[in-house]
C-alpha cells in the first residue's frame, strides 16, 4: 500500500445508518477520512464541495435511483466510484459499470474485500496517467514499445493479446465489462462475440500467470467482465 501524505477522503452515499456507521468504523480504522450522506442530492452536493478521493454509492436511495446519481456525478467527477448495493443481478451490475462505476460490490460484503477494492481504485488514480511503463509484481508492461516482461523475460504476445492486456492493465482494479473490452479491442461489430474474449483471456493467462488455473492478474468477474489485479 502506498504511504498517504494526507488522509484520503471517502464519501459514503447510503441511506442505511447501520451501513454508514459500519463503513465509517472500517474505513477510519484503515486511515481514511469518511464523509457521509443519506440521500442522493446531499451526496452530490458533498461531492461537489468536499472533493472526496473516492465515492461509495448505494443504488437504492430514497430520493433518486443510484444510477441517476451516478450519471450526474460522472458529468464532472472523474475520481473512482464504487457501487455498493444489494442489487445483485448481472443487469444492474453491468448498468452501473457502463454508467461510470469503477467497481461494484454487493451487500452483504466482506470489509476486507471492500478495502482491497478501494485500495486498487485509488492506486490506479494515483499513478501517473502518462506513465508508459506499468509494473505489477513480476509483470511489466512497456506501453510505448509494446514489450511485456514476466520475471524479466520477454513474453511474446500477438497484437490482439497486447491490446487486451494493456487495456486491462491501464484500468487496474477497475471492472471492465465484456462489451466494453470487445468494443475497445475488436471494435463495435464484435460487441456480442464474448467467445473471442474468453479465448484470448485464456491464452493470455497461459503466458503471464504463474498458475493459469488460479489467475492473479486477469480476474474473472462472473457474468460481468474482467478486473486486472496484482
Amino acid at each position: 500500500m502506498t504511504i498517504m501524505n494526507e488522509k484520503e477522503t471517502v464519501l459514503v452515499i447510503d441511506d442505511e445508518l447501520q451501513i454508514r456507521r459500519l463503513l465509517e468504523i472500517t474505513l477510519s480504522a484503515s486511515g481514511y477520512k469518511v464523509l457521509q450522506s443519506s440521500t442522493g442530492k446531499e451526496g452530490l452536493v458533498e461531492a461537489a464541495t468536499l472533493h472526496p478521493s473516492l465515492v461509495i454509492l448505494d443504488l437504492g436511495l430514497p430520493d433518486a435511483d443510484g444510477i441517476e446519481i451516478l450519471k450526474k456525478l460522472r458529468e464532472w467527477y472523474s475520481k473512482p466510484v464504487i457501487v455498493l448495493s444489494v442489487r445483485d443481478s448481472e443487469k444492474d451490475i453491468v448498468s452501473a459499470l457502463d454508467n461510470g462505476a469503477n467497481d461494484y460490490l454487493t451487500k452483504p460484503f466482506r470489509s476486507g474485500e471492500l478495502l482491497a477494492r478501494i485500495r486498487a481504485a485509488l492506486r490506479s488514480v494515483n499513478e501517473n496517467p502518462d506513465n508508459n511503463f506499468l509494473v505489477f509484481d513480476t509483470l511489466s508492461i512497456d506501453l510505448q514499445n509494446h514489450v511485456v516482461r514476466k520475471n524479466n523475460e520477454i513474453v511474446k504476445l500477438t497484437s490482439t493479446e497486447f491490446l487486451l492486456l494493456s487495456l486491462l492493465a491501464r484500468n487496474e482494479g477497475r471492472v471492465l465489462t465484456h462489451q466494453y473490452i470487445l468494443k475497445e479491442v475488436w471494435g463495435y461489430g464484435y460487441i456480442e462475440q464474448t467467445q473471442y474474449l474468453r479465448v484470448f483471456i485464456a491464452q493470455l493467462r497461459k503466458k503471464i500467470e504463474d498458475n493459469p488455473a488460479r489467475p492473479t492478474f486477469l480476474n474473472t468477474v462472473s457474468g460481468i467482465g474482467y478486473r486486472f489485479g496484482s
Binding site: 448481472e90 452483504p108 500477438t158 497484437s159 490482439t160 493479446e161 465484456h178 475488436w186 464474448t194 467467445q195 473471442y196 474474449l197 474468453r198 479465448v199 483471456i201 485464456a202 493459469p212 488455473a213 488460479r214 489467475p215 474473472t220 462472473s222 457474468g223
Partner: protein, 509 residues
C-alpha cells in the same frame, strides 16, 4: 375451389360423352347384322354394353346409354330398318322389355356400386377415426391434443380450424389456444359465446347467428365443455360426411376434456403443494434462521457487556462472522428457490470458460475446502461452452458445499469436467457417507434433508441444483461412489466454440 368444380364438371360431361360413344361404337360394330334376322343378338350385345358401363359410371350416363341403345336398336335393327316404327307386336314388347331391362340393369348395378363405395368410405372413416383416437391417446397435454386435431382436421376436411377454450370457470378466451394470433372480434366472440352456452353450431352457414365470417362448433363434453371449435373461412358438411365430422370432433372433444380435467387436477395439486411448501418454509425459516441469529445476538451481546481477553473477543467475532455467512447463504437459497418457483428464472446463455467457473467456485468456498484435497480435471482442449455463468456457479457451489458438509476433512473431492456428444459434463465425486436407496430417490426434492445431516440448511440446495440445470435443458443424476461417497453428474447440451475459426481474428491490428 373453382378449379375443382370445373374438373368435376369436366368429368361428368366426359362420362356422358363416353356413354354416347360406346353406344355408337357398339351400334356401328353390330351394323353388319342389321340386314339379318339376328337383331335379338344385337339387343343382348347392347344390354351387355350398358351393363359394363353401369359398373363404371354414375346413374346419369347409364340412363342415357340405356335410352340411346334402345332407340338405336329400334332404329337400326328392328325391322323396318332406319325408322322408329315397329311393325310386329312382339317386337314392340321386345323393345319395351329391352328399355326396362337396360334401365333396371343400370340402376341396380350403380346402386350396388354406390353401396360398395359407401362401405369403403365408411371403412376409411372408421380407420381415420381409429387413427385419430390412437394419436389423441398419445397426446400428453391440451396443446398436443390441439396440435394433432388441427392437423388431422386440415388433412381430412380441408378446413382451417382453431380452438377457443374456456378458462376453467366457463368463460371463453377470445383467442385461439395454440394459435394466439387468431383473435375473435367482438361480433365473433358474441356468436362463439352463444354457441358455447347453447351447445349448438352457430355462425356462417348455420341456422344460428350467421352474420359473422366464421363457423363455430361446440365441443361436446360429458362433464364440461372444453370450449368451441372455430372454422375460418366458414365450413359446412352434410350427409354421411357430417356424421363423420361430428364423430371426429367428439373424439377430439373427449381427448380435450380428459386433458382439461387433468390440467385442473394438476393446478389443484400445485396449490396444495404450494400450501405445503409455505408451511414447510415457515417452519424451516423460523428454525434455521433463528440459530445464526441467536449466535449473532449472543456473541455480540457478550462482546458488548463483558470484558473479554483479546483471544476470546476473536472467537466471538469469528462466531458472528460464521453465523452471518450462514444466514446469507440461507437467504441466497431462498431467493433462488423463489426465482425457480415463480417460473421467472431467465437463463442468459453466454460463452464461458469452464476453468473460470471452477476457479470462481473454488475461490468462494476456499474456507470450507481448506481441509479437503480438491482434484480438478479439465481437458487441455476443453472448448468454451454456452451456459449461464451465474446459475451454473450456484449449481457447482451448492454441490461442492454439500460435499464439504458431509465428507470428512482430509478426504478427496474430485471435480471432473469434460465435453462429449455436444454436451458439457461435470462430475463431482466425494468420499463422504453416500446415500441410502431411499435418500437417492428423494434427494432433489424441496426441503428434503438427509437424516443426521448437520444443521444449517433448508434442504433447498439440491432442488436448486436440479432446477438450474433443468433450466439449461440439462440433467443431474446422483449415484454412490465406491467404496463410499456420492457422485453427482451434470449433463448440459450446449454449443461449443470452433477454435480454428477464432484464431483468424488474431491477425487483427
Amino acid at each position: 375451389m373453382k378449379l375443382v368444380i370445373s374438373k368435376f364438371r369436366k368429368s361428368v360431361v366426359f362420362s356422358y360423352f363416353v356413354s354416347v360413344m360406346v353406344v355408337a361404337l357398339v351400334t356401328l360394330l353390330c351394323y353388319p347384322l342389321s340386314n339379318t334376322q339376328q337383331y335379338y343378338l344385337v339387343s343382348f350385345i347392347l344390354l351387355f354394353a350398358v351393363f359394363i358401363m353401369a359398373a363404371f359410371m354414375t346413374i346419369g350416363p347409364v340412363f342415357l346409354a340405356a335410352a340411346l341403345s334402345s332407340l338405336a336398336w329400334n332404329y337400326f335393327f328392328i325391322p323396318p330398318h332406319n325408322t322408329f316404327h315397329i311393325e310386329k307386336t312382339d317386337d314392340i314388347l321386345m323393345f319395351v322389355l329391352f328399355f326396362s331391362i337396360a334401365m333396371l340393369n343400370g340402376i341396380l348395378t350403380t346402386r350396388i356400386r354406390r353401396q360398395e363405395q359407401l362401405a369403403v368410405e365408411r371403412e376409411e372413416r372408421t380407420a381415420l377415426l381409429f387413427q385419430l383416437t390412437q394419436q389423441l391417446s398419445k397426446a400428453g397435454s391440451i396443446d398436443e391434443v390441439l396440435k394433432i386435431s388441427i392437423e388431422e382436421i386440415r388433412r381430412n376436411f380441408s378446413a382451417n380450424v382453431f380452438f377457443i377454450l374456456q378458462d376453467g370457470n366457463n368463460i371463453l378466451y377470445s383467442s385461439g389456444r395454440l394459435q394466439k394470433d387468431k383473435m375473435l372480434n367482438s361480433d365473433e366472440y358474441e356468436v362463439a359465446e352463444w354457441s358455447f352456452r347453447n351447445k349448438q353450431e352457430a355462425g356462417a352457414l348455420t341456422g344460428n347467428l350467421n352474420h359473422v365470417d366464421c363457423t363455430f362448433f361446440p365441443l361436446p363434453g360429458t362433464k364440461l365443455i372444453p370450449g368451441i371449435l372455430a372454422v375460418k373461412p366458414p365450413f359446412q358438411v352434410a350427409g354421411e360426411k357430417r356424421t363423420f365430422w361430428l364423430t371426429f370432433i367428439t373424439q377430439v372433444s373427449n381427448a380435450l376434456e380428459r386433458e382439461f380435467l387433468a390440467e385442473m387436477a394438476g393446478k389443484a395439486r400445485l396449490l396444495d403443494e404450494s400450501g405445503r411448501l409455505y408451511k414447510t418454509l415457515f417452519n424451516s425459516i423460523s428454525h434455521e434462521f433463528r440459530i445464526p441469529v441467536a449466535t449473532i445476538m449472543g456473541a455480540s451481546d457478550s462482546l458488548l457487556n463483558s470484558q473479554h481477553p483479546v483471544n476470546v473477543q476473536n472467537v466471538l467475532s469469528n462466531e458472528i462472522f460464521t453465523a452471518s455467512v450462514r444466514l446469507n447463504r440461507l437467504i441466497g437459497n431462498l431467493l433462488n428457490m423463489s426465482r425457480l418457483e415463480s417460473g421467472k428464472l431467465s437463463v442468459s446463455l453466454d460463452w464461458c470458460d469452464i476453468n473460470d467457473l471452477v476457479n470462481k467456485v473454488l475461490d468462494d468456498l476456499k474456507d470450507e475446502l481448506e481441509f479437503f484435497t480438491v482434484r480438478v480435471s479439465i481437458p487441455e482442449n476443453m472448448p468454451l461452452v454456452k451456459i449461464d455463468f451465474g446459475l451454473m456457479e450456484q449449481v457447482l457451489y451448492n454441490l461442492l458445499f454439500n460435499s464439504t458438509q458431509y465428507a470428512k476433512p482430509g478426504t478427496n473431492i474430485d471435480l471432473l469436467c469434460d465435453f462429449e456428444n455436444h454436451g458439457l459434463q461435470i462430475s463431482l465425486k466425494d468420499e463422504g457417507p453416500g446415500f441410502s436407496e431411499e435418500e437417492l430417490k428423494k434427494l432433489f426434492t424441496k426441503f428434503y434433508r438427509v437424516k443426521g445431516s448437520k444443521t444449517g440448511g433448508l434442504g433447498l440446495g439440491l432442488s436448486i441444483v436440479k432446477g438450474f440445470v433443468e433450466a439449461h435443458s440439462g440433467t443431474v443424476t446422483v449415484e454412490n461412489n465406491h467404496p463410499s461417497g456420492a457422485i453427482f453428474t451434470i449433463r448440459i447440451p450446449t454449443e461449443v466454440t470452433d477454435f480454428k475459426n477464432l484464431m483468424i481474428l488474431d491477425d487483427h491490428e
